[in-house]
């Protein structure tokens, strides 16, 4: 399994789990399925880029930094879309998205095979 596939799988799983925590908010329960799908897609995109980065750069620290930055960025897009509907939840979406991105960035550094032709170590 290469790092991009690993990133996609971790992103899908962690994104779905993160979305599932919306169950703890009664007002969000009716939208649980769409939240989980959206969160999974967000996670997969973060995983895709984190996996690509992990193939190029071997550094746990930079993997976490890039993963958390990507998580924060895509969580911001999701929160902005949410806000456009008149219900801003920036903190609720961006804070966990930031940490989930960091976890995905970490895991893509640890799991999966790398593209040996273009590796660098920071």
């Amino acid at each position: 399994m290469n790092k991009i596939v690993a990133g996609l799988l971790f992103g899908l799983t962690l994104g779905a789990l993160d979305g599932a925590t919306a169950w703890f908010y009664p007002e969000a329960r009716p939208m649980l399925t769409s939240i989980m799908i959206g969160s999974s897609i967000k996670g997969m995109i973060v995983g895709l880029f984190s996996g690509w980065f992990a193939r190029k750069v071997q550094s746990t620290r930079w993997g976490i930094v890039v993963g958390s930055a990507l998580g924060l960025l895509f969580a911001f897009f999701v929160a902005a879309m949410d806000a456009s509907k008149g219900q801003p939840h920036y903190l609720e979406i961006m804070l966990p998205g930031f940490v989930v991105g960091a976890i995905i960035g970490f895991l893509t550094q640890r799991v999966g095979s790398r593209d040996l032709a273009s590796q660098r170590t920071l």
């Binding site: 925590t21 703890f24 908010y25 746990t60 976490i64 903190l91 609720e92 804070l95 966990p96 930031f98 940490v99 989930v100 960091a102 976890i103 970490f106 895991l107």
Partner: protein, 275 residues
């Protein structure tokens, strides 16, 4: 004319020195005494380099041929073998400048460095075993650490050598597992006090009185040391649950911190929304 004791001692020492006439070497002084002879520092006049010259006192038992058959970075290369005018056999080898392992570790206290030394010795042993040769007398005094940290395993044994008690396996007939016993004893010698239980268990398994209960080969012992270095469970030690948990936490500290951060963030958001 009477000679003083100091003059007599000097004459005895000079008389005991080997006569190197007829060879390309110039004697510089005694370095040490091995199991089968005396090692001298000498200068190779032809190539103008310093060498170690081992002069054997016993009937030659193929020691030079034995070592020359082993070409490995951790085994001292033999340059030449020959016979002195007095009939004694000698062989010239690379002169190692550095310290004996026991002296070196007195200055180097890190566990990682000590395990690196064991690794290098183990690799040399594994190489020799793959050529059907066993050391027979592995001990700290027979391992040299060069100026750049390189390792040399010296005094490869011949059948006349019985081994050193603290490092010698109890069995009468020595084989590869006897070297594994000695490597375990060397590991135990190198471990700091208090030693990590997993490493103590590896040494104990290698030093089991029953050869069949030891590691079957050197690479298996080295693999167990590598598992320890990577924070994994070692074969030699059925670790208690608390130790396993601690090792897991140590290996996955970053991931556990990230998961804790996520949980904290979720709790924070959950309780903040009430205000």
């Amino acid at each position: 004319m009477e000679l003083s004791d100091s003059v007599l001692d000097h004459l005895r020492r000079v008389a005991a020195l080997p006569d190197l006439s007829g060879t390309r070497y110039e004697l510089e002084g005694e370095i040490g005494r091995g199991g089968m002879g005396i090692v001298y520092a000498a200068r190779d006049r032809v190539l103008d380099r310093h060498v170690a010259l081992k002069v054997l006192d016993l009937t030659p038992a193929g020691e030079a041929q034995l070592i020359a058959a082993l070409e490995h970075p951790a085994i001292v290369p033999v340059y030449e073998a020959g016979t002195l005018l007095d009939g004694r056999e000698f062989y010239a080898m690379k002169l190692i400048r550095g310290a004996r392992l026991d002296q070196y570790v007195a200055r180097q206290s890190t566990l990682a460095e000590r395990l690196r030394l064991i690794w290098r010795v183990g690799e040399a042993l594994a190489y020799a075993h793959s050529h059907g040769i066993i050391h027979r007398d592995l001990k700290p005094q027979n391992v040299m650490v060069g100026e750049f940290g390189e390792i040399y395993v010296m005094d490869w044994g011949v059948k006349a050598i019985a081994g050193t008690p603290a490092f010698r396996a109890p069995e009468i007939v020595l084989d590869q597992r006897s070297d594994i016993y000695a490597l375990g004893a060397l590991l135990r010698f190198l471990l700091p006090e208090p030693n990590p239980p997993a490493l103590g268990a590896i040494a104990a398994k290698a030093m089991n009185a029953d050869p069949a209960a030891r590691y079957p080969e050197v690479p298996a012992l080295l693999a167990d040391i590598e598992r320890f270095e990577q924070g994994m469970a070692v074969e030699a030690w059925p670790e208690p649950l608390w130790h396993r948990l601690r090792r897991f936490a140590s290996r996955n500290a970053v991931l556990l911190w990230l998961l804790a951060a996520y949980t904290f963030a979720k709790f924070l958001i959950f309780f903040l929304r009430k205000f």
